[in-house]
Symmetry: C2
Subunit: 239 residues, 2 copies
DNA sequence: ACAATTTTCGACGATCTTTCGGATATATTC
DNA sequence: GAATATATCCGAAAGATCGTCGAAAATTGT
């Protein structure tokens, strides 16, 4: 795991080693949120579980969560309805397990890719761009996550909430890094800046999911993130 | 209705009268989207309809749409289940009628309030701030709209979609106004700018709805909108 | 006050969800 | 490799919610 090598004199009152360690810890944590409690013992079951998840994703994306029927998902997975209940308490439980899996994969992918980037700005661009790209590559999952689950009231009562909170936490952490490194001026409200970044990218992703516009989601997300970061870098220092 | 009085020489190729007329027309249209088709004949029915809407809002906000039962809503409204079906085809139909009503009211409120503002910047700040304030004042409705309905797949298949599209249209129109008036530099991608503004404000609203943070939603939305507009005004002109 | 129209409601059938007990498959032990 | 224990699967039936229908009640117009 990369650790920033400090060659310049430390700014007063900031421990870069501690900061780097925090970053590593955050990266590790987000990619390793505990999975669901019940571990299946037999290989057969693990295959069945995968078949259920993949079937559920297809059906949910096609019909929307509320209009999907458990029986359809079970049929699509090639098992009986009652077997499905051996794996998931109910439809909601199933629906909320899907994003957790994928989010873990996304975070793990980012953890590996970000090793090549050293500046906070590059990392931030990578992070937000990757999230848009992940949505484009897994558009069935993204429909489910961005259009049905993320904003839902119930997220706040679920384990999934932690993963969603992690998403914002990464942005905040990188904004602080950039401030320390002088990528943008001191004294801004980083929660507000994070809202702008995350809100803007999500807005682009959601519009793309609903209307397939703009055509090139990857380019659009790079453009919007870089534009915002340019604007932030040009702001007068506050405080 | 206010019409901009032109005292300065017109910039080449721009008809300010036409632009002002378009703005008036847009304002009128958004506040007067046609209501639902079926008109009730008796006064009693109109009261019942209101009781249903108000009961549905409470129940949906409390339980979430998918967990709400038609029977509960009917009981809350003091009518029988089957009577409710006389008014709404099904739960979805009911859920999607609520936002339409409120959005109309919001647009009408904006139409009246914006008459006092003449610059595009002031109008934009007013618009986005009012939308956050409307969410704060009608938080049950806002939970339903922002957390369950707006991002939902099904919006794209409903009448409601027009009202949602109107919301963005107003922002785009005001951004063009501001460009003509020199409030910010020429040549930017206004769809992108609109995504930033709308996405950021929505993000703040959603966070407030879920976690009641930041405490003062009104102030937070003013701050974030003004910060973004300042940044946009400071951008170099693109070409 | 009477007829026509509109609105309400209880009862019922249809659809979907969830549970339960036993049958079948896999793993473990000797 | 047979016996035992455990894990997985399924059919059937119970439970819950949705949505319909015809008759009763309320309202309106004359």
């Amino acid at each position: 795991m990369l650790k920033a090598v400090v060659t310049e004199p430390l700014p007063a009152g900031v421990d870069l080693d501690t900061a780097a360690a925090e970053w590593d810890a955050l990266l590790h944590r987000i990619a390793h949120r505990p999975k669901r409690a019940s571990e299946r013992k037999q290989d057969r079951s693990k295959r069945t579980e995968q078949r259920i998840l993949s079937a559920a994703l297809r059906v949910f994306a096609r019909d929307g969560i509320s209009r999907s029927r458990i029986a359809d998902i079970a049929a699509e997975a090639g098992i009986s309805t009652s077997t499905l209940y051996e794996y998931y308490k109910n439809k909601e439980d199933l629906a909320y397990d899907l994003p957790r899996n994928h989010l873990s994969n996304f975070f793990e992918g980012f953890r590996l890719a970000v090793a090549a980037k050293s500046s906070a700005r590059d990392r931030l661009v990578l992070y937000l761009t990757m999230s848009a790209d992940f949505a484009r590559e897994h558009s069935e999952w993204a429909r489910l996550f961005y259009l049905e689950i993320w904003p839902s009231v119930s997220v706040s009562e679920t384990d999934l909430r932690h993963s969603v909170d992690d998403f914002a936490r990464v942005v905040i952490c990188l904004l602080r890094q950039g401030e320390r490194d002088g990528d943008w001026p001191h004294g801004q409200n980083w929660y507000q800046t994070a809202s702008i970044l995350i809100g803007s990218v999500n807005q682009v992703i959601i519009t793309w999911l609903l209307y397939r516009r703009p055509r090139n989601l990857t380019k659009a997300s790079i453009d919007i993130v870089e534009r915002i970061l340019d604007m932030i870098a040009a702001e007068p220092a506050a405080g």
